[in-house]
Every structure is written in C-alpha cells, then in structure tokens.
Amino acid sequence: MGTGPLLLLATLEGTVMAAVLALAAVGLSLTFGVMRVVNVAHGEFYMLGAVLAWAVAQAVPSAPLGFVAALLIAPPLVAALAWVTDTTLLKRLNYDPESTIVATIGLSYLLQQGALSFFGPDARPVAAPFSLRLQFPWFGYSGYKLFVVLAALLVLGAVWLFLRRSKAGLVMRATQVDRNTARAFGINVDRVYAGTFALGAGLAALAAVLVVPISQAHYLMGHDPLLLSFIVVIIGGLGSLRGTLIAALIIGLADGILSMLYPPTLAKIVATLAVALVLVFRPQGLFGAPAR
C-alpha cells in the first residue's frame, strides 16, 4: 500500500475517532460550561454505556435488534443515574468545584468497581447491526464505522438545535451566563443542573454504544476517553461548544494520522503536555474568547 492510500486510511480512522470524541467531549463541555464543575466520572459514564449495551445486546437474540435496543436503552439509563448523582451528591456539595472533583473521583472508583463485580474483567464484544464493507481499490473499510460518523453528526446537530432553538436550551444557556439572574427569573436552576448533568452523561453513553461494535466493552475503557475529552475540552476552550467540536476534529484526525506514523504512547505524551501548557499559557483555550 502506497503513502496515499495509507493516508486515506489514517484519515478515515481519524474521522471516526473524531466523531466519537466529539460526542463524549460535548457532554463534558456542557457540564463544565453550564455547571462549572469538572466531572471526573465522565469516563465511567462512557464505560457504563458500553457495558449496558453489551448487557442489552445479550438479552436480545438478533444482532441488529440488540444494537438498536442498546442504543435506545443504555443512554437513558446512564442519564438517569447521572440525574440521581446530581440531586443526591453534587447538589449537597453546592457544586463547589474542588469538592465536586474529589466526589466524582470517588464515584468513578465506585462505578469501576461495580462494573468489575457485575461485568467481570474481560473485554466483551457487541455485534454491529450490519456488516457492510466498502471496497476501495486498495483496502476494504467497514461501513459501520462510517455510520458512526454519520450518527455522531446527527446527534451533534440535534444537540446544537436543542441548545439554540428549544426553550430548554435557552434556559440552559441562561443558567450558564448567570445562575443567580436565571433563578431570579423563576428558572429552576436545580433542575437545569440535574438535566445538564444527565444530558452530558447520556451523550457519553451514546458515544460508547456507537463505539462498542468497533472496540469492545471493558470496565477500564473509560480512562482514555476521559483523558482525551479533557484534552479536547481544554484545547477548545472550557465551556465553548464550537471550540470543543473543532478541537475534537483536530485531536481525532491528529491522533489517527500521528499514531500511524509514531508510537501512540509518544503521541499521548505530547498531547497531555500540550494540554498542560495550553492551560498555563492560554487558559481560555485556543478557540475560546478571553475571560471578561
């Protein structure tokens, strides 16, 4: 295979990666933007989505139906868990940023242990709903992966429409800008927070359900997406949705292409250091506006 086809393959892989990453990171970005809390358990919500998808697919005999059922059942379940977490735990902490981080670290340990106890230490696959193969002149490519990109685009579009056009989205944005004024206008801020936290977790779970036919479900699988989502959200500017999307595209493509040319560990080292330096020297992110 020549350089051209190799680059094409790398770009395709990178695009798939970027799509999944964008879904996962938008959830993190939403919770940070609206609630000003960093959810360390975000990766575990992602993992739960994948594990639940496996459980649902096990219960349904036919492969396409199982996947569709997982897509419909797993994200709402994870969102419900996040809602409960918000109302019972984060609200009690008054959304203090540092306490929330410590509490969500604890939560992530709990969820990991729960998955390990009930799901076991093995990686388990979920069958893709269809097995279409696109034949390029040089290599075949899984049609399902392109479906993932399409689905991610659809969901992201829906999130954008929801935020821009719906009443609930307006209320969320109002809360993001000024929590106290929003409360003064009769907005139930507690419910907005719980809803945002649930939405963020649900998006992570959705990304995981989409990804599980490509990579497998595993109780430690939340670690990398958490780190990458952090990287994307920070590079894109904390709380900026558009920045998050652009950053997801850049990081996903860069990761796809660089990890074909260089060892993946080296790429990760460079990425984590880059994030630390961005936070130190340009805290508003590469695409965010400077703080007012």
Binding site: A103, G106, Y109, L110, L111, Q112, K268, V280, F281
Partner: protein, 309 residues
C-alpha cells in the same frame, strides 16, 4: 507543650508497635509509615497552603525511580535515597513554576496532566525504567548504616525514623513564621499579598517542600520493599495521599498518619467482602467530601480540642 507531648507519645506508641505487632501487620505498618511521609508532603501543599494537586504521584514516582535506577547502576542505598529526595524536589520545582500560574480547577488539571505525561514517559522509555513491570532491587544492595533492610525489624525501624523526622519537621515548619505565611495563602491570598508576601514564591516553596517529602517517601518505599515500577506513577498514587489527608484531617500534623493507617485497616478489613480496594476508596472519598470535609482531626479540633496542631 501539649502538642510536643502528643507528638512524642505517638512516636513512642509507634516504636512500641514495632516490638508488639505480629509479622503481617508489621509489614503493613511499615508501609503505612512510608505512605504517611508521602501524605505529610501532600498535607503541606494541600492542607496548609491550599494547593489541591492531582499530580503528586509524579514526585513520589520520580523519587522512587531515581533511587531505584541509581541502585541498579551500583550506587549505595544512602546516596540513592538522597538522589530520590532531590528528584522529588526538582520535579516539584519544575512543574510548580508552570502550574502555579494557574489556580483552582486549572491547577488540578495541569498537575494531573504533568503526572500523566510523566507516567506515559516512564512507559515509553520502558527499556530503561522497566515500564509497568518495574524491576526488583537486589537484596544485597538494600543496606543502610549496616542494617539489612530485607529483614522486618530494621525495615520498620528505618521507616519509623524517617517518619519521625518528617513529622517533627512538619510540625516545626507549620509553627514557624514561614508556616503561618503558608496558611495565609490558603485563607486569603489577596490579603497576604497586600501584607507584602509574595504568593508565587511562597506557594512554590511549599510545593518544593511537599515534593521533597514525596520524593523521599517514594525512594524509601523502593528501598524498603525492594521493588520500583511505573505503576507507582498512576493517578491512583496521586489520589491516595489526598484521601489520607482528607480522612485524617487536612491541615493537622497527625492527620496524614491517621488517614494512612485507617485506610490501610479499612481496605484490609474490607478485603473479605470485595476483592479490590477501589470501592472502599470511592465510598470513603464521597463520604468524606459530603459528611466530614474537615476529616477526623479537623472535626475534633473544631469541636473543642483547639490546641490540636
């Protein structure tokens, strides 16, 4: 005066335990003492200065690796321990210079990312560092002042002496004028700036002292238990000292020891119920943050024992 008696009584009790404990708990307690040194370092940064770092595994593991690699190359245990101490301080200085330009949540993420990058680098240069599998330190090299550290008795004694020195140094530090300026940074940075203190250099000094403790703890852990590896650089080893300090009481001199000891006992007691300590750590973290953010000694101090250091 009460405080001095308390510190000496705790050290005396620990020394007595060295003679009384059965072998299994003997080894566990030596581990607790070394981890308490690490936690004291964390306490100086977080408990007294208010710097919530999520990257202290970097300094711990840097100390451990520097010491371990030096010993592998034939350096004696004493100088290798000093090398570990220095590695903890140098890494804290380097990351502190950058990370202290941020505060709050950004500071937590930046320190987390530095530690993550360090851990990944250890894996990447696995040929030199031993990677995730690490490497054992030869028993013949683990000798300090003529003591054979592969034996339980000398091992406990060395851990206790190290802990005692660091505990008393911490107490001296936090009751000194400089220690008061650290607390001032935690309580109100702007006001202390107005009083003429330089927040950046004060906090940097606190981080370096904290890193020195973490470095010597990591090096001692390697020498005493004969194994070093990159697995001690994972995020979990940044969370553990935070957990100990939160449990025992942030900003109390004996909190780190109490937290480390209690946590070891809790995980040991729960090992009959679950096969992994993750859930215990998770539940404790959440419970502390929700119900007792001051920790045990912090709550006692608030409830009347005002003299508690």
């Amino acid at each position: 005066m009460k405080a001095l008696v308390l510190h000496l009584a705790v050290l005396a009790a620990l020394a007595a335990m060295g003679f009384l404990l059965p072998p299994y708990h003997h080894g566990m307690m030596a581990r607790v003492l070394v981890m308490a040194v690490f936690a004291i370092g964390y306490n100086i940064a977080f408990g007294y200065t208010g710097l919530l770092s999520l990257g202290h595994a970097l300094h711990f593991c840097a100390g451990m690796m520097a010491c371990g690699i030096a010993m592998r190359e034939g350096v004696a245990a004493g100088p290798a321990l000093l090398l570990g101490l220095a590695a903890g301080g140098v890494t804290a200085l380097a990351t502190g210079l950058l990370a202290l330009r941020t505060a709050g949540v950004s500071f937590m993420i930046v320190t987390l990312m530095f530690a993550q990058a360090f851990h990944l680098a250890l894996l990447y240069y696995g040929g030199f560092t031993g990677g995730d599998e690490g490497f054992p330190l030869p028993g013949a090299a683990r000798r300090l002042f003529g003591l054979d550290l592969t034996q339980a008795g000398p091992r406990y004694a060395v851990a206790l002496v190290l802990f005692g020195l660091v505990l008393l140094a911490q107490w001296g530090l936090v009751s000194s004028r400089f220690g008061r300026s650290l607390i001032a940074m935690r309580e109100n940075e702007e006001r202390s700036r107005m009083l003429g203190y330089n927040p950046f250099t004060t906090k940097l000094a606190a981080l370096v002292i904290s890193g020195l403790c973490a470095g010597i703890a990591g090096a001692a852990y390697g020498v005493l238990f004969g194994y070093v590896g990159a697995s001690f650089g994972t995020t979990q080893y940044s969370i553990l000292p935070m957990l100990y300090v939160l449990l025992g009481g942030a900003g109390t001199t004996l909190g780190p020891l109490l937290g480390a000891g209690l946590m070891a006992w809790l995980i040991d007691a729960a090992s009959g119920l679950t096969d992994s300590p993750l859930a215990v750590i998770g539940v404790t973290l959440i419970g502390l943050v929700v119900f007792a953010p001051r920790g045990i000694l912090g709550t006692l101090r608030q409830r009347g024992l005002k003299w508690l250091p």
